[in-house]
Subunit: 158 residues, 2 copies
DNA sequence: GCAGATCGTCTGCGCAAGCGTACGATTGCC
DNA sequence: GGCAATCGTACGCTTGCGCAGACGATCTGC
């Protein structure tokens, strides 16, 4: 007999995931405030730490943001010498975006603080649950948007 | 040696949880559209199915909504005979809120559709991971807001 | 070398949500 | 019996976000 017992009583997935997301955002915002970073700034730094971007449009697409809404963020980060916004000699329309050494240090510091915060939360649960939780979360979050939303109407996901 | 290997490379919790929440909302919205229900309507029905409310303010507080913003929702649900908004003989200021039989049927139908959707998503992962994932998620989402956000600044969570 | 696409920037619209205020009706305290 | 508090309702303000359009500068295909 499959353990469907908890299925009827448990709350909806969205009813747990969404408020949790809100709380995580609020908690991380606090940490980032201490580092004078906004959430968007941190997302940008994360993306650029992964790899530099050849255009702002590409960066915006990579982080799922509106291309017009990251301009102010980039302006700020550039003014604080955390990123470099250089001319692309091969295409003078675009801007080459990369982290400065200062920017990379700031990012590493911010991420360490955030990782510490998350670790404190995750350490609330047993170790085996924690890794399974992270594995499951990663799997779901790796699914594409059409896959995730499409399962609402189509009959098979796999 | 603890398995910290994935910790340095994995994405931030919030970066996985928040988009997942958005996708879940979008998927469930699709389902609810088919039942002519909004997300707020569904949340209200869920709360009232659990137990009737003695005042609108209590209901709003229970679902974490603004008391002024559920008025239109209640108006609509009442007009469609899904909820009953009766006068409280003991306190003529408040309204007794409860599900009508029709409302309960609509709720059960909607929840079944949503559960099916979530099951299709969860069945993507191995069974053992699934239950651990749900357990961990439930644990995190059961933590209070001050607990979740406070871990950002304070040193102990437990 | 010209037409059409792309890039960064600016501006404005629309929507949803939270928050505060106000107000009449009503209740409970003392 | 009077005063503060509560309930439901309406209104407006503000913030954040997505989306769209426009513009000059620039690149690419042909």
């Amino acid at each position: 007999m499959p353990d469907r017992g908890d299925d009827d009583s448990r709350r909806d997935l969205a009813a747990m995931v969404v408020p949790l997301g809100r709380a995580l955002i609020a908690g991380e915002q606090r940490i980032l405030d201490a580092q004078q970073l906004s959430m968007w700034s941190y997302v940008v730094l994360t993306a650029l730490a992964d790899e530099p971007a050849r255009t702002q449009a590409a960066l915006a697409a990579a982080i799922g943001a509106d291309k017009t809404r990251i301009i102010a963020v980039l302006d700020d980060l550039q003014a604080r010498r955390l990123i470099a916004r250089g001319q692309d000699p091969a295409d003078r329309r675009g801007h080459l975006l990369s982290l400065t050494p200062t920017g990379r240090r700031a990012f590493v510091r911010a991420r360490a603080a955030i990782r510490g915060y998350e670790r404190r939360l995750l350490d609330t649960m047993p170790g085996t649950d924690r890794s399974a939780f992270l594995r499951g979360l990663a799997r779901l979050s790796a699914m594409s948007w059409p896959q995730l939303t499409g399962a609402a109407t189509e009959e098979s996901v796999r």
